[in-house]
Amino acid sequence: MNSGEVLQVFQSKLSGIPHSGLEIAEHVIFQVRLPRILIAALIGAGLSVVGASLQGLFQNPLVSPDILGVCSGAGFGAALGILLTSGIGYLTTGLSFSFGLVSVILTLSMVRVKGQAQTMSYILSGIIVTSVFSALTSLIKYVADVNDQLPAITFWLMGSFANTKFEDLTLILFPILAGIVGLLLLRWRLNILSLGDEEAFSLGINPQVIRISVILFSTVITAACVTVSGIIGWVGLVIPHICRRIVGVNHSGLLPASCLLGANFMVIVDCVARNLTAAEIPIGILTALIGAPFFALIYSQMKGEA
């Protein structure tokens, strides 16, 4: 398909006059490519804005969206689904999303049991939940059928847009957009939470209410992302850092900037993933291969400040 054909398809769609001979091109554009691009953009925006929000919330610029265990929980859910159904159907999607939520609920209840809502208890509880779900995922891989289930699980966990369909878009559009809007609405308050609980309290706000809202929105976004694309690392860590260099640390500007840059970054990397080699490279591999050295570069240039 060349760009002329693409233009013709759009022309016929807009003018309402059917264009004979382009049915296949039309199908490819509207059922395969456009949904894929939109999904990539949504997920890029979602993961980046979650990364930026959680870094602010936990006062630590090294935090990424999987800090509370969402990704490993959702990964386990998907692996379980593939084991049970030998495919990526509704059950797999549902299990993945649910276990993403379950993992964060586990993390939060562990913090509650501890009784101290300190940043460190969240991070430690997240690490515990993450490692338990990783172990369970390994267990599933161990018992999975080596010929079809194991490769399916492995590829899913690598993170890829290869199997995304139009239905996936309708599935995640609402949760991710709602989550992003929620976080954007709270963006100025995040500044105050990033000062620590006591200082936030002394400035007259209730840190707990905002923290729970931010965690809730972040979890919904991350779980929805992981459910359709698998685990795509580094985006949520690197994009906020780049944005801080461009628009500054104030979350009022940082969150919208992260959304925009994250969406663009993901669409571009997905293009590369599709076109670089004959067989598509899973995007999770590429984001890490591009993201990690890039991060090293930025980090080495930082002069003692985050």
């Binding site: 602010g56 006062q59 630590n60 610029p61 609405l185 709270l186 963006r187 100025w188 308050r189 500044n191 105050i192 990033s194 000062l195 006591e198 200082e199 309290f201 002394s202 400035l203 007259g204 706000i205 905002i210 801080r244 500054g248 640390v249 104030n250 009022s252 003692g304 400040e305 985050a306």
Partner: protein, 256 residues
Amino acid sequence: MLLQVENGSYSYTKENPVLQGINFSLQEGEILAVMGPNGIGKTTLLKCLMGILKWQSGHSLIDGQDSGMERKKIGYVPQAHRFSFSYSVRDMVVFGRAKYMSLLVSPGKEDYKIADAALEEVGIVHLRDKSVSRLSGGQLQLVLIARALAGQPCLLILDEPESHLDFSNQFTILQIIKRLAKEKGIACVMNTHYPDHAIRFADHILLLKGERYLVGRPRDVLSKENVREYFKMESSMERVFIDGREIDLFVLLDKI
């Protein structure tokens, strides 16, 4: 009476009460210096006043209302510390407006105007666009005072505002606190380890130790006998006249 603490008590564990039956009151424009050995509960007292910790018995009142209900009237100045994210000075000061804003709103023109006025009040307008990570300790302390002022408080609570500063910066900070108290009628409660500062700048001293405490005028509270009892140090207070000014000097003599 702006601030009243009645029978305030707090303990972290049952065996060791930190504060017991504290009573004191503060008028508009008065400065109270809280003194006492390390770890005796000075910061705990400030936290109880702010409502971060809840008095286990007794209560504190601001304008006759429970201070937990009147949190908007309290401004808090923490010790200067490093921040995880290097906000600009102006951003940091406008955070002091958060308590007046509803949950989903960002600060508006009016909030920035008040923040700028607060910067002017403490004399650091020129630092407005600098990043807080590039400030000296003294400048950072001034930013934190400006942030508290942006919240338009009646009561300012300061946790060792002059610690870790050189003596010239210490003096600047304390002078600004004194001026705010006298000109704007803000009552101040501040922790300090420096008797000279308490004598020079405070109207009252609250001296804490275990289950006892003293409150009164600086000269009376820091008497030989009291310093011996609370700090186990010999001391003397001398009144000297320098350039026609009457100045009380506090001198430490020996450890007992």
